[in-house]
């Protein structure tokens, strides 16, 4: 099921089995629009997120994923997030990659050894 969200369908969201796939751009115009539905999906048991087709990802995307991670953390579950290179790069630069409530898949940034939780 395709769910276009935001202006001109900036980001498409659909279910592929147990996985939730996001495709397109995540920015400040649609991150808050996407959040409630994605949190509902986590409450319904989704733990696998496929962000390998995300083209644009910045601070608003980080904010969105941190909200999802907080939800998972509250529920005691661990998200698995498959990252496009840009997504992984931005998460690593922001120092949020290491956390017990998610596992990021996709190669980490060279030379940017992750920061341990709570110390930065």
């Amino acid at each position: 099921v395709y769910t276009p969200t935001g202006p001109d369908g900036l980001c498409l969201v659909w279910r592929d089995g147990d996985r939730l796939c996001l495709d397109g751009d995540i920015d400040q115009t649609n991150a808050d629009v996407l959040r409630p539905d994605l949190i509902e999906d986590i409450r319904a048991g989704v733990v696998d997120f496929d962000l390998t087709s995300v083209r644009f990802f910045g601070a608003a995307g980080v904010r969105l994923l941190l909200a999802l991670r907080a939800e998972a953390s509250d529920r005691g579950t661990v998200l698995r997030v498959a990252c496009a290179p840009m997504v992984r790069r931005v998460l690593d630069i922001c120092g949020v990659s290491d956390h017990e409530a998610w596992t990021l898949m996709g190669p980490p940034e060279p030379g940017r050894a992750a920061c341990p939780t709570g110390e930065n």
């Binding site: 115009t29 601070a59 904010r63 941190l66 840009m86 931005v90 930065n120």
Partner: protein, 322 residues
């Protein structure tokens, strides 16, 4: 419990004898005290120190100074992450760093050294929790007297002929950053590659910036850095400033330059983008991302216009992906 002071010291090098008389004894004292040391210095300095110390030099860890050819924000953050790891492991490592700034293709009018001094200022606060002394070598033979003067003011300690002494002319990082926040950016060239008034729907702007970076020979990942940094600054202009927002992009030699102006004229907080974001809070990451991805980032708010200018030297943007 009161935290031990952060020993951030300047060692001003005016001759090779200074290395012999000040740096070599500093290392020897550290070795006697069983204090681990990481040296991230130029090949020339390493050669001189190895010649003086002989076998003692093998007890020091010699780091790779190529990090200084990544973006300045990245170089500074890589050091911080090293300090975080030492702290987590209960290690106290004395870091000796000699920043090197040649070998980039920035326009001559843009000073990497000047921008790096902002990081020297802010690390007094940002590196302090990790309990590791940091000593910075600055060579007065290759830097102007004004830069050396500022370096002294930004380090609470100096390594002199008799070891470490407190710096009486120390300036707080807040005061330093506030003073430098309004230096002005210099003129924008009359002919630009891009001159756009973005709306909040930024997909077309991102496509244009991406194509522009490609046309200058940036590969997909490097162009992505430019797109993210520029988008974050435009998003900030809409959130914290006011329309109209204007984006101009041009080339200066091997450097891509992008400037975002908004009509709000609000000053950008002088520490914005210099303090690492935490692992939890929702906001405050836009300018951090821009300062990590671009090399020199200049800001100003004058005459009712707030401006941010991002520089992406080709070589630095390549090195940022090594």
């Amino acid at each position: 419990m009161r935290r031990a002071p952060f020993h951030h010291s300047a060692l001003i090098v005016d001759s090779d004898e200074t290395l012999r008389d000040r740096l070599a004894p500093l290392i020897e004292r550290g070795m006697v005290a069983h204090e681990p040391m990481l040296m991230v210095v130029t090949a020339r300095t390493e050669g001189i120190i190895r010649g003086i110390l002989g076998l003692t030099a093998t007890r020091v860890v010699w780091g790779d100074s190529s990090g200084f050819y990544r973006s300045l924000g990245t170089a500074y953050e890589m050091f911080r992450r090293y300090l975080v790891r030492q702290h987590r492991n209960g290690q106290r490592v004395h870091v000796v760093a000699e920043p090197s700034f040649d070998r980039t293709d920035l326009p001559v009018a843009v000073s990497r050294v000047s921008e790096y001094l902002a990081y020297e200022a802010v690390c007094n606060q940002v590196y302090a929790p990790y309990g590791c002394p940091v000593t910075c070598l600055w060579d007065s033979r290759s830097q102007s007297p004004s830069v050396i003067d500022q370096v002294r003011g930004l380090h609470p300690y100096e390594i002199g002929p008799y070891g470490r002494t407190r710096q009486p002319r120390f300036v707080s990082s807040e005061a330093y950053l506030r003073e430098r926040a309004n230096r002005g950016l210099g003129a924008v060239p009359e002919a630009n590659d891009l001159d756009i008034f973005p709306t909040e729907d930024m997909a077309p702007v991102r496509a244009a910036v991406n194509a522009w970076a490609f046309s200058a020979g940036f590969d997909e990942a490097m162009a992505g850095d430019v797109v993210v940094a520029v988008s974050e600054i435009i998003a900030n202009a809409f959130v914290h400033g006011s329309a109209p927002v204007r984006l101009r992009c041009w080339r200066d030699g091997g450097t891509l330059v992008a400037q975002v102006d908004d009509a709000g004229g609000a000053p950008i907080p002088s520490e914005a983008g210099y303090i690492p974001p935490d692992n939890i809070s929702p906001g405050g990451r836009g300018l951090w991302l821009a300062r990590q991805l671009a090399d020199v980032v200049l800001t100003s708010s004058q005459n009712g216009v707030t401006s941010v200018r991002l520089h992406f030297p080709y070589a630095v943007t390549v090195a940022n992906h090594d």
